[in-house]
């Protein structure tokens, strides 16, 4: 009996890398927050006697 599905190849798209865009954005958001607060305290320290 003919098997019509046998000749068809189903293509399953597999991403070779997971998307990390959101992770990148949140890492840099945290990074810049740390830098801004660190600089704020540092300049406060430098400005005071």
């Amino acid at each position: 009996m003919a098997q019509p599905e046998i000749g068809k190849k189903t293509h399953t798209k597999v991403e070779d890398q997971p998307s990390l865009k959101g992770t990148l954005a949140s890492v840099f958001l945290l990074g810049f927050f740390l830098i801004v607060t660190w600089l704020g305290v540092f300049f406060l320290f430098v400005d005071r006697f």
């Binding site: 890398q17 990390l20 992770t23 990148l24 890492v27 840099f28 990074g31 320290f45 006697f49």
Partner: protein
């Protein structure tokens, strides 16, 4: 080992900022010579009143040192001696303080002068008073029932 491109980016970013922060601390300590306020200088807490410089609390002009004045404070429950002191604007001052009894704090509000005074140890801080005005000194280490009344004042005058 495979590392995602984004992972490389934030690893480099994180390591770089860490190196910058640590470099700033290193320069502050080893090039500018910053150190903890209480750095191995000791005094017998029972003889504070008879030991120089604590036998004469207050502002004193000194010659031949890196600073122009020495400002000596003696703390005890629940006051500072002197209770008020005037410092000329722009003077480079070494603040020298200790305590006669328990642990006290020595915070000049709104400045970087913030030290812990421990019995038996001398706390020091060198700074240039470059802003005129009145500065409140408060005790920020709980020292007993009169802790909240323990204050002094520095007046920076032109």
């Amino acid at each position: 080992m495979h590392i995602h491109k984004f992972e490389k980016i934030w690893l480099i970013f994180g390591v770089t900022t860490l190196i910058i922060f640590l470099t700033v601390i290193g320069v502050s300590a080893f090039y500018l010579g910053n150190q903890p306020p209480s750095c191995l200088a000791t005094v017998n807490p029972e003889n504070v009143d008879t030991t120089a410089p604590f036998n004469e609390p207050g502002l004193k002009k000194v010659e031949g040192k890196e600073w122009d004045y020495e400002l000596v404070f003696v703390a005890s429950a629940f006051s500072y001696n002197p209770g008020k002191v005037e410092v000329p604007l722009g003077a480079k001052v070494k603040v020298i303080a200790t305590t006669k009894d328990v642990i006290h704090g020595f915070e000049v509000a709104g400045t970087n002068i913030n030290m812990m005074l421990e019995p038996g140890f001398i706390s020091e801080y060198v700074t240039t008073f470059d802003k005129a005005g009145e500065f409140l000194i408060v005790c920020n280490e709980y020292c007993g029932v009169g802790h909240h009344t323990m204050t002094s004042k520095i007046e920076v005058i032109e």
